[in-house]
């Protein structure tokens, strides 16, 4: 599961994530992180046999967790299927299908934002 974690300024100094990994059987991948003393957010992917318990633990410790289905959103009206983004994706989450339509694979996307800043028609946005 992918989710945005929101950290309030109150908990940025707590080592919630390392405690989580020590205590529960979870696989944890940090895709994006932007945390300052004023709080911040982190995009993570979490799985494993105790993922459910792990999530409950994070919420108990004060992290607001918003599960996401889409990491990036493509505006189909703006997109002209030029394919500029395809070769820029570090995880090959963007593909051109047999009809030359540009497709984004949310399962693979890590939300790096490289495609959003490079899109000539500004058709791709990070979904918060």
């Amino acid at each position: 599961m992918k989710a945005w974690l929101k950290f309030s300024p109150r908990i940025v100094n707590k080592h919630v994530i390392s405690d989580l990994i020590k205590t529960y059987d979870v696989t944890f991948n940090i895709l994006r992180a932007d945390i300052t003393p004023k709080g911040g957010k982190m995009l993570i992917e979490i799985s494993g046999s105790e993922a459910e318990e792990g999530i409950k633990y994070m919420e108990k410790e004060g992290i607001q967790l918003n599960p996401i289905k889409k990491v990036v959103k493509k505006d189909e009206d703006k997109c002209v299927d030029c394919g500029e983004c395809v070769s820029l994706c570090p995880v090959e989450a963007i593909k051109i299908d047999e009809n030359w339509t540009v497709l984004l694979d949310d399962q693979k996307c890590i939300g790096c934002g490289f495609c959003t800043s490079s899109c000539p028609t500004k058709a791709i946005k990070i979904a918060y």
Partner: protein, 537 residues
């Protein structure tokens, strides 16, 4: 551009291309009117010629439709705004904050697609191309104009809103569209580059290309046998016309299978903006490069004989192109390797044994839509083919470079202070002493043969002392921005500005340190040049 065609006098017109005709355009038009014409897209034609041969295809097929939808900076439109009361002779004109050229009659102006917004905070994000898209979408656009004021045109300013429907004329005129083949781009440097070919990742991390390949109009008629001055075309959802050869039209470069292997022929196009559709015209921004317009163009090719059928049967396999290193910011960029559109369209290509992803930049989906749309127009009898009024040259045209009277000064031409370097194993204290003795802030770190390993600044040394680091290799910056001896000084000035640094080591091809070039050296050079110019006047 030089075109040694035979129309040096007004009497000796170049004749329309001589082609052995099996069918005439008039006969094809009659079939179109009768609803009997066989019209197919260039992609379908490729398959038909492969399966049945060109002879059979020439008998069966009447028209092949082509299409392209790519970023074409050399585009724009003329407007006539109408006269205000009292009237104005506009000398500066802005549409939604983007300047249009108004050095023509009182209320005429030309907006170029690549013109950025006059407010630097908006800049590249909204340019001439976006104004064109807004107008075509039916949106109101703010018109601001300034004038000197004359006896016949007393008004000195205008601030109002216009829309496409209340403009007297809005005519798209594109000086250079539909490039016949184009360069393919990659980047060998250590940094990401932002170019008109899109974002290019370091160390040849990606490849971008921009031709529609076998669908592209001028690759289907590579010798301009049917496409000429006056040819009616599909332009951005409306009808357009070919005005003639485009700027930078070139005919004499290398060809393989009859088609150029690099940028060659171009077209100047015009069409009524009022009839266009935003589905086939889009404002865009190449990041950190500027605004550009995605233009949709489709050209019908009458299949008059077997040779024309053969040429429209060209496949992506047969269209070669070259990958250039855009990491070299010079007019002549080094060629990395040759490829073809079949390989590029697979999405991956191998360079130096590494698999690299490719990006098309132009939309094949839209190009196909355009070829299909044009096919439908012709099938319905709504669009007839035209005989060219005059042919477009297919030989004798070359693109000449701009020779600058005062050529670029190269790094090696600058008087540079003797090079001071430090060896990687030198003690921090020794390095500090070297900086103080020589009154410098940067020192290149080299290995024993003198090859560049890194660079240290006085700040790095202060850091090392504060943290108790003993080793130079721990505190030096390993990723160094460098200058080559044959880099023009303008390129170095841009590099210094872009990376916000004060100077960089000069290295040769073996990475041996030859000296340092600093912002001071460049300012000194500019001062001495200005003084020289002052003396000569």
């Amino acid at each position: 551009m030089l075109c040694h065609s035979h129309d040096n006098t007004f009497i000796n017109y170049t004749k329309a291309p001589v082609v052995k005709k099996v069918k005439t355009i008039e006969e094809i038009n009659q079939k179109i009117k009768d609803g009997d014409a066989v019209v197919i897209t260039a992609g379908e034609m490729t398959r038909i010629v492969q399966e049945n041969g060109a002879g059979k295809a020439a008998k069966e097929v009447d028209v092949v439709t082509t299409g392209t939808f790519g970023a074409m900076c050399s585009s724009g439109a003329f407007f006539n705004f109408g006269h205000s009361d009292p009237p104005i002779k506009m000398s500066r004109t802005y549409l939604n904050g983007v300047e249009a050229y108004s050095g023509v009659a009182a209320v005429d102006a030309y907006i170029g697609a690549a013109q950025p917004h006059h407010n630097p905070d908006i800049g590249f994000d909204y340019g001439g191309a976006h104004v064109l898209e807004d107008l075509v979408r039916g949106n109101e656009v703010e018109l601001v104009a300034e004038a000197f004021g004359t006896d016949c045109y007393p008004r000195t300013e205008v601030n109002t809103f216009i829309s496409l429907e209340n403009l007297n004329q809005a005519v798209m005129v594109n000086p250079r569209n539909c490039y016949q083949n184009y360069a393919v781009a990659t980047n060998s440097t250590e940094e990401t580059l932002y170019t008109y070919m899109g974002t290019l990742l370091p160390q040849m991390g990606n490849v971008s290309y921009s031709s529609a390949g076998e669908l592209s109009p001028l690759l289907n008629d590579p010798y301009f046998q049917t496409i000429g001055v006056g040819t009616q075309i599909f332009l951005c959802g409306g009808r357009g016309y070919i005005m003639g050869q485009g700027t930078q039209h070139a005919t004499d470069g290398e060809r393989k299978n009859g088609v150029p292997t690099e940028s060659a022929g171009t077209l100047m196009l015009q069409g009524d903006l009022k009839k266009m559709d935003s589905n086939y015209l889009r404002g865009a921004t190449m990041p950190k490069y500027g605004p550009t317009l995605y233009v949709g163009a489709g050209i019908p090719i009458p299949i008059l004989n077997e040779e024309i059928a053969q040429r429209t049967g060209i496949s992506d396999h047969e269209i070669s192109c070259k990958i250039y290193d855009y990491g070299v910011p010079r007019r002549d960029r080094p060629i990395i390797q040759e490829t073809n559109y079949h390989e590029l369209k697979t999405g991956k290509i191998t360079i130096d044994g590494n698999e690299v992803q490719t990006s098309p930049l132009s939309s094949f989906k839209k190009a196909l839509e355009i070829a299909e749309e044009l096919k439908t127009w012709i099938e319905k009898g709504e669009f007839l083919l035209t005989n060219p009024v005059k042919s477009i040259p297919n030989k004798g045209c070359t693109v000449n470079p701009l020779e600058i009277r005062r050529p670029s000064i190269m790094v090696k031409d600058i008087k540079i202070k003797p090079v001071i370097t430090v060896k990687a194993e030198e003690a921090i204290s020794g390095v500090a002493r070297k900086m103080v003795d020589n009154n410098i802030n940067h020192l290149p770190v080299v290995d024993h043969p003198g090859r560049l390993m890194g660079i240290v600044t006085s700040w790095d040394i202060a850091h090392a002392v504060a943290k108790g680091s003993k080793k130079l290799t721990e505190v030096m910056t390993k990723k160094v921005i460098v200058a080559m001896e044959d880099d023009p000084v303008e390129v170095i000035a841009r590099r210094i500005d872009k990376h916000e640094i004060s100077g960089m080591p000069i290295v040769d091809r073996e990475n041996l340190v030859k000296g340092m070039i600093t912002a001071e050296d460049i300012s000194r050079l500019m001062c001495s040049q200005n003084n020289k110019e002052g003396d000569s006047q």
